[in-house]
Symmetry: D3
Subunit: 242 residues, 6 copies
């Protein structure tokens, strides 16, 4: 089987160029523009001194996320969800995933009774918006927590580890790391993997778009994802040192 | 580490008693009550002679699913989604999963321009409602397709294989098959696996509820799931022969 | 005029076979499956230790009801109200009727500041779903109240009498008791009657679907309803003794 | 038992002063302000040259109704339904009743494929808004039909009889005709009756607000309603002659 | 350029006949029917002893407005917003304008922690409904405040001046005061002006429907509006003296 | 009266630094990031080969706009409209204003039966988002039209002139051009002015936030706006030449 040829001569196990811009907007406690190639997501972390009802009086905080896509982030314009009056199932699925991924590295007790509200808004889409969102949201959350610590509101960080995410998939028989849009459309199997800096899994979501996939294929995809996430965690670390 | 003790002395790799009742209601082309222990889901398959806009004129059919939970299917009553005016993110996530799982074993071309509408309604919940729903929906879909063939509307079945689903998770260090509600609440890692009769993956959705999980843990969970699904596929087969 | 011939040789003043199954599901304080022939409705009664705003601090309780129909309870699939985002006028009309009927036999003062929430979900429809719902809901409410008394939360029952309901109508000139679907569609006049165990009226809702009906016709229908409800109240009593 | 004393010395079987003003607004094909004492409802009938989907191609027309209450039609302001984003169950129940009542005297075949859309908007409420609405809507519909006939669009009227409505109820043991607000609040039993000009029933909706009512009480109420409706039909006739 | 000929020989700078009927309905603290020619708007002012969240504990009151149009107030019937489930952008724009205009002459401190809720409902439309609404709402608000003062709840009026509104526009080159519907449809430029009794501006909203307008045209329109509003304020004053 | 001191020593009649970045995102036919100081709005123009129902078969095109604000574009996070399920009145008011402003310089006949859909999304807010949106949307629309002409779909531009917008207001007695957020909050009078490149008015919306304003004040504000818009039109022209 000949290998699928990627745009720009990218290798099968190669991430797209990743750029992480901190302080992209001025009001949010954490504000990060993350780019995975042509995919651009603005991730903000807002601190609110209240928690949702199910956490009130618990001494614990909460971390949650919302996701949106600007109508013309995509090749053809999609409806504005605010105008249609509801978020799509896809949007809800993604924002729930981002929220769980963030909570996976948060000690909610240590956060205290406050909420970190993550907002991920896709300015431009070319595949992988949810994985870019998670990877960027972690950096925004770090900045928001740093602000709380600088203000003396927290003595130690409630963040217990790094978290990043990447998509992997099989296109025309070739396992690929970090799918761009045309690869995503063409792939038989598509998997989003969220891992910690220690290489443990927070979420694995694999879907056979065409034929069902074998255990062997899953193992190859997981290996690719592990490699990609290790690189993303290093890129997050460098961005946070800048 | 001592093993977690399951209710009723169930072994860690043992399914709950599964009952599949075909023809549970009279109007639907396929109507199955499936029980995984105390979890009871009514799965109906309805045939409609039209397709959604994105399939019109394509010569292909469509398979889609909706999911609901009766308000008092659960320990404490939950709000009726119809009264609240919207389906929760959880509901949408589940019904999208059921739809993709069904489409994973359907040849939409062979179905022709008609829709198989799956409805999964939880009458009683005790964990694993989405996996019971997928497992039961497959049987309902088989019955609906058999009816189309008996009516001469289809010459050969558009269903290309069996599909079933099961949950697995790690509770107090013990990997368990087919979690019931109290196990689901207590588990650190929770994974829903959808596989075909040939043992290939259609969907894998693993979530670390507490600590992130290791590759070794994932491998153990996948092995458990594979065992459970092989048994479920056999139970489906026997039910369809009855 | 020759009499309309009913399916199964049923007499004009004869109820369909009625089955009342208590404890149909395990979580609700009262859970009853009621069947009027092929019509099957699951009625649950849930006890909640709070009341709606208009009763807070009044010392009185509240009894209310919601009604739903599974999408494929009917001959052709109907839209899922949760997915459409609103309950139809018909649904609201029915659930308001069930709530008023239940309150008709409740002493809200004696109930104390708690709510009995009735849920009636139609699993299979063949006419008369609202009257079956009321008749079954009464049994579920009795069970829920018995539980409150067994727990010592209530010293005496707040239920002051039985309540049951039946439909009557005129089809091709023949007054009929307990209409099934094909009779309901064909009838000129359709009346739903809710009465207490003492034979007093809680609700009477008569509608001329075709020609307006005369006082004489109404009198015949009321007589039929009275007969049917007396039988239903007896069936409730026997079910509660079981 | 002493009789309940009504405001203004009104007799138990006496209607409030009824005023019917045709041509109250200028745009609608029929526009009637109807007053039952202090209750004032603006009823318009609009002709539209199309029918809803279920009547398309049937050769038959449709008659339907919507109902609304201005926010400050009542003693204390109620929420504006348009602002809240949905019609209450009560509103839907009433507008469905008005629609059925109107259709009860329409020959939809003779109407042809057009819709008579009735709008009943309560400008001021003092009990009996739905019965005033039905009584006024009939006059508005007559005017709309007269316009269609004058334009040569209809050769003969599709209206086959008069229809009017009144409320009756038992307050402190006294059966009363045409309840005003304070009587409505105080009544044990409340019945809305819709009858044709020939004295046949189109709708009967009786509700025990407090204790269930007896057959004897119902008979007294029906007799009162019959008297009231005969008077209303005469008032409609006189208004149409003016 | 010849001047545009107005219906009824109205001069370009002439208002339509204005009628202000106080006490039009009985329940509201202020209730005014205002007519600008064939445009008829019912304006009520309701006093509520609470304020919205953003004013709680501030010692200040609030004045707000809602606007609606009966479905058949217009030449062809428009959808009922309550049935459609949302207010149009136009409706929201208008009710926000009315609210701001009223607050422009209210001293919210002097009002105390209560709300004046204005409701403007168009019974019949012939252009200028929003300006009629503002002009009538002021009179209704005056009546509501007078009632509060008569009850001793307010020692001095929180209303610091009169406010009225009128539309102006340029039709076929002629600047016109108080546009009726056919003029509104034909106009190139349309301006709604809200002014106080002292001749100061509360709101100016000018829109070029066709070609952009010049400063000179705006000056002419503002002069016309000033004349019209002076007359309207005088008509309000006379109505309040009646 | 001493003049109000602006941040950064800005003169009362001075615009904030304006930056116009064309081609900010890759998919839209026109994509412009416009910055008025710290206010940043992404304006895209999308071409769609269809028109809304009211234009079908008319031979004319349509230009419309939607507006949104990212939840954390502001000092404190505001609710996501898509999650709340409706657009606020403010949002609708703004997007209607943008749409009318764009149509003010479009010859819809010359556009042909296609739609230019403008989306203005605020990434960061510091006052003047609607005026920045209009000014940027014009540039995006120019780029979209240029693309249509380059593709040979249009022979001549349907854009008949430039359009830009600016806010003006009176803060502590000083008339100011181009208000930033803290000035907007503090101002007594606030006016948004939309003008063409020829200096004619498309929209004028003035609001007295505190005391009503005089004709003399309005004249001063209009003069300031005229100056500002002349500069903005020049900045648009330079950006389009780049």
């Amino acid at each position: 089987m000949t290998e699928f040829a990627r745009s720009g001569g990218r290798a099968a196990d190669q991430l797209r160029p990743v750029r992480i811009t901190r302080g992209y907007t001025i009001h949010a406690e954490g504000s990060v523009l993350i780019e995975f190639g042509d995919t651009r997501v603005l991730c903000t972390a807002s601190v609110e001194d209240k928690v949702p009802p199910h956490k009130r009086g618990s001494g614990e905080g909460w971390v949650t996320a919302e996701y949106g896509m600007l109508p013309r982030a995509t090749h053809t314009r999609s409806d504005r969800e605010a105008a249609r009056g509801k978020q799509s199932g896809r949007t809800q699925e993604i924002q729930r995933l981002i929220g769980r991924s963030m909570r996976g590295v948060f000690d909610l007790k240590a956060l205290g009774e406050r909420t970190i509200q993550i907002d991920c808004d896709v300015l431009q889409a070319d595949g992988g918006t949810r994985t870019a969102a998670i990877t960027g949201a972690f950096v925004a959350a770090m900045d928001a927590v740093a602000k709380l610590m600088a203000q003396g509101k927290l003595a130690k960080s409630p963040i217990v580890g790094a978290v990043a995410a990447v998509s992997v998939g099989i296109v025309e028989g070739t396992p690929l790391l970090d799918l761009e849009y045309i690869e995503d459309v063409a792939c038989d199997t598509d998997m989003n993997v969220v891992m910690t800096g220690l290489g443990h899994y927070v979420e694995v979501q694999g879907t056979a778009e065409g034929a069902a996939f074998t255990r062997k294929e899953m193992d190859e995809l997981l290996r690719l994802a592990e490699k990609g996430i290790a690189e993303l965690v290093e890129l997050q670390r460098m961005a946070l040192l800048a």
